[in-house]
Amino acid sequence: MSSRILLVEDDERIRASTRLALEDEGYEVEEAGSGEVALNRFSEQAADVVLLDLMLPGIDGFECCRLLRRTSAVPVIMVTARTDTHDVIAGLEAGADDYVTKPFVAKELTARIKALLRRARSTGGPSALSFGDIEVRPDEGTVLRKGNEVHCTRTEFRLLCELAANAGKVLSREQLLDRVWGYDYFGDGRLVDVHVRRLRTKIEADPGNPRHVMTVRGMGYKLAI
């Protein structure tokens, strides 16, 4: 079965050409010209990946992403105008898993989609693992905190698993980018930073004063058990 991609983009031509490119790669593409339409389509039929332009008429990409996140852990790739604006961080904060920059190259885009889908499917790693009041169940793809399920996105989950599998060891941002996002050397370290922040808000009692996901200054992150 081919993966379904929800393509949210207000520019009709970009939408049409992106659709062609994605269909060539064997994806099934659902189009939406606005955030509202996208949310409706998604509630009718969930997609495997959402490709979300940040500049949309009506509710913008950020808000759209947040609304999606209320109900779903679906991988979201946002399409931003620029790499070094606060848009990237704001988009990631809103719950996106990854981003591409316009004008993007179709190959780059499909590579990101493939990496996300791979991540979504494979949940290998250690079997159940627990620390503090957190319990990670990689085979089920769930995280429990004090026995209650914590809603993590797939990327957050992967990140937690990766840190947990190397508990006590420091993982550099490059290593995390490579292992969680499948990025090569030039990946954007902000992806890691923002996802760590998001993860903390979910599993830490006091996200401002983390006990589990620790920052090792100048080196990276580690999971303290």
């Binding site: 050409s17 316009k102 808000t201």
Partner: protein
Amino acid sequence: MLQHGWRPWRRLGLRSRVTVAFALGALALSATMATLTYFTARQFILHERETAILRQAYVNASLARSSLLRSHSPDITQLFSSLDTVPGSMSVLERHGTWYATSFSVGENSIPASLRRLVLHGTPATQHFALDGSAQMVVGVPLPAADAAYFEVFSLAELARTLQILALALTGAALVTTAAGAVTGRWASSRALRPLGEVSKAAETIAGGKLETRLLTADDPDLSALAASFNRMSDALLERISREVRFTSDVSHELRSPLTTLATSLGVLEAHHDELPPRSRRALDLLTAEIRKFQRTLDDLLEISRMDTGSAELLLDDVDVGELARHAADAAGATRIPVDVDPAVAGLRLSLDKRRIERVVANLVTNAAQYAGGVTRFAVEPAPGAVRLVVADCGPGVPVAERERIFERFYRGQAAGDRGATDGSGLGLSLVAEHVRLHGGRVWVEDGHGGENRFVVELPYETRETHETHETPSPARTNGSRDRPFTATDVSFETETPQGAG
């Protein structure tokens, strides 16, 4: 300043000119005053003295006359001693053709002949004359009743000395006044020019890139007008520049959507490359090459406009410089050239923006490939307090005159003209310079061995713009959209000083 003809004195600074003008003015004024004073005083003193001399001479003449008339053969010596004389005055008496004098130094011949003649013929007279080089005045009074003539010679040496001292004093005063005029002129011009100094300092600062620099509007109405017009000019300039920058940015952004469609559609076509007939395939290849170039140029333009609007930020990461250089060279397609990392900087970790350094390397490699037969050597070398990335090529060497200009936007050197289809945007090297500048580093080109070029990028250990992005809380686009405030632990990475170079 308005243009003037060639006037040598304009070569002097305004301050010197004002000083000279003040000095000359003071000199003219004081010289006139001194001259007037001198002549007025001289006339007055001379007049006083002459009056006194005449009075004394007539008194003595009448004393002499009454003495002569009193006795038939008077004692001339006694007569002389009875006269009322002042120091420096000498009496001479002629009686019946015989001359008598109070001093041996005077006599008949001491008295000018013309005056002598006049008096002996019965006309009283006075005359100024010089005797032994000193000024004298002689008064001659005929005494017809006694058949005699009385002469009195007065020395005017004292008067001359007085006038000399006066002249000296006045000259001195004039000189002092002139000097004071010069000092005043210097002071006044310095004071008047001080605001100009501030204006020039502000202009310097603006030229240095701080376009927001403004002058304080002073209380002085004259100066506040200057400050206000200067500030208006700066505002207008800033507005103009930002309008241009905005224009570039807007155009680039507007181009991005169609370019995305173009690039994506092209990707689709390329996927079906082999299914196309040969001619279409060739056309597609051309299209691909041009759109790639278009895309690169647009990327570069956007990058430049971000630099211009000051919104360019460094995304600093703690990276191994040698490793970054290797990755960047690979990514830039310079895989044949091994990256030569000096042992002194092997394993050196610096806080750098990986993407920007990668672009720097890629642009240098592209530049070498297009204009100088490709990269021949790529090295990472130590430098004092910094590390250098050196990209050498086969030449031809960049002419000395172009060595700075090649880092300007859209500058194409002579070498560029020789190539047919270039893939460069014309912005490559200028972006290299901008990226390096953002890191607080420098880039230049120098001669290598045998006509090759050595492009040297020097990155300081301490990147100036630290504490960016990773620590900056992101202002979300919509208010109140963030779930929680950022906290101190969100700060994940901080730049650290590398522990030495070896």
